[in-house]
């Protein structure tokens, strides 16, 4: 029997520490629902990042490992290669995945590692107090880009879904947001497809979430949602980025 409302079994019954209006919590819930629906909770291992979601291991009711900053895909690789029948997912922020962990994510993707990555792009380093992230928009003010991100010196924001979609090991990539009921439904569908892709052994899967950080953006929760819709999703268009191609290394 499936519960429609109420807490998913894969979600622990504890209060979360996220700020008001932060969408990390919604994203957690979608993942937990999918794990429940696929009935894989007992063979799932999650990897938490170093970032605001570092305590994800407290919020999910499945096995969990805490990786060092950016290395979750490498840790996931070690687990998945040891336990090929497990369902392994990484939960990573933009600093974690696209800055310090760029090498690990690219190589996990290009190897077609059968893992699922939930990538939470909030255009800022949330946990450390709002510094510039690799995904910070041009002109966006942060504590280390006090005059606004100048692409001349600080480089251009990285579009992770697009970048990784060029790699042959990738079986499924999508970018979603959770700014309203329609987007939430689409997002959940994407998470489900990503997990299914892994379970079917097709290769690497990743869902990029455009997420809010009202506290470090200096916005109200409502303004933050609006900013995702009106600013972020212009630079980071929502949708499917899977390119039809042979999956490398599947013998």
């Amino acid at each position: 029997m499936r519960k429609v409302f109420g807490r998913p079994e894969a979600m622990a019954d504890v209060p979360m520490h996220y700020c008001p209006g932060c969408t990390h919590g919604i994203i957690h819930r979608l993942i937990a629902e999918v794990i429940d629906e696929l009935g894989v909770r007992e063979k799932t291992v999650g990897i938490s990042p170093v970032g605001c979601a570092v305590l994800a291991y407290d919020y999910f009711n499945c096995d969990f490992v805490e990786a060092s900053h950016g290395r979750a895909p490498a840790v996931a690789t070690g687990i998945k290669r040891t336990l090929p029948d497990s369902v392994v997912f990484c939960y990573q922020g933009d600093g974690d995945l696209a800055s310090i962990g760029m090498a690990e994510i690219v190589h996990a993707a290009t190897r077609g590692e059968k893992i699922t990555v939930i990538f939470v792009n909030n255009a800022v380093y949330g946990m450390t107090g709002g510094q510039m992230a690799p995904t910070t928009l041009p002109g966006q003010r942060t504590t280390t880009s006090p005059r606004g991100r100048d692409v001349e010196g600080a480089g251009h924001p990285i579009r992770v879904a697009e970048l990784l979609s060029t790699l042959s090991g990738v079986a499924y990539i999508s970018r979603v947001s959770v700014t309203g009921p329609t987007n939430v439904i689409k997002a959940k569908r994407a998470v489900r497809r990503a997990f299914e892709t892994q379970i079917e052994g097709k290769g690497f899967s990743l869902v990029e979430f455009l997420s809010t950080c009202p506290i470090n953006w200096g916005m109200s929760p409502l303004e933050a949602m609006k900013w995702v819709d009106e600013k972020m999703s212009l630079y980071y268009p929502l949708g499917d980025y899977t390119q039809v191609q042979e999956v490398a290394g599947n013998a």
């Binding site: 520490h17 700020c19 008001p20 605001c52 946990m127 506290i215």
Partner: protein
């Protein structure tokens, strides 16, 4: 002169500012000073505190583990720090948010309705200054005027328009505390 104080409350109550004003004023009056904040993600929506040492001797430890004074603006911080206060020390607490006074009988305790007073002044954000005023009236660690001078140094230029209101809040806090004549340990007024 030697003072070791802890200021504590919610993040957003202006706790750090209270401590910094006192520290800056102490420095301006020629004392040795240090200011040590709590920090990190646990501050978001949680509790904040800072530890201040002001001394005519050198400041040895910047960490305050046996405060002579505690100014607590919310309940969790009163609970946490009240047991730390040295015997015969002082606790100033925000009676607007803390109904029951602390249970210590060996320290001086003053409840100040900081939020009510601040609201009367038209800006809840001055509750911290009401508390600081009360604390200053009792301890006389630095003078009222120096604190006002320190405000010009600590607040960014664009916030200087708030100084007159903060001044009023400080004075109101001082008045309330000076009505509190008795220094008997354990005596309290609300």
């Amino acid at each position: 002169m030697h003072e070791e104080a802890i200021f504590a409350g919610f993040g957003g109550q202006g706790i750090m500012l209270m401590g910094q004003l006192l520290t800056y004023a102490g420095m301006m009056e020629g004392a040795n000073v240090s200011w040590m904040p709590s920090y990190g993600p646990e501050m978001r929506g949680g509790t904040a505190n800072c530890q201040v040492v002001i001394s005519s001797k050198g400041v040895s430890s910047p960490l305050v583990t046996e405060p002579l004074s505690l100014v607590a603006l919310n309940k969790p911080s009163l609970h946490k720090f009240a047991p730390w206060v040295a015997r015969e020390g002082l606790i100033v607490y925000n009676s607007s948010l803390i109904e029951a006074p602390p249970e210590r009988r060996d320290v001086r305790i003053l409840g100040v309705p900081c939020n009510e007073v601040a609201n009367e002044l038209g800006d809840l954000r001055t509750a911290n200054m009401v508390a600081l005023g009360a604390y200053l009236a009792i301890t006389k660690v630095v003078s009222f005027e120096t604190v006002l001078d320190a405000m010009k140094m600590v607040l960014p230029e664009r916030r200087h328009n708030l100084i007159p209101l903060n001044r009023q809040a400080l004075s109101r806090g001082m008045e309330i505390a000076s009505l509190w004549h008795s220094q008997d340990p354990g005596r309290e007024i609300s």
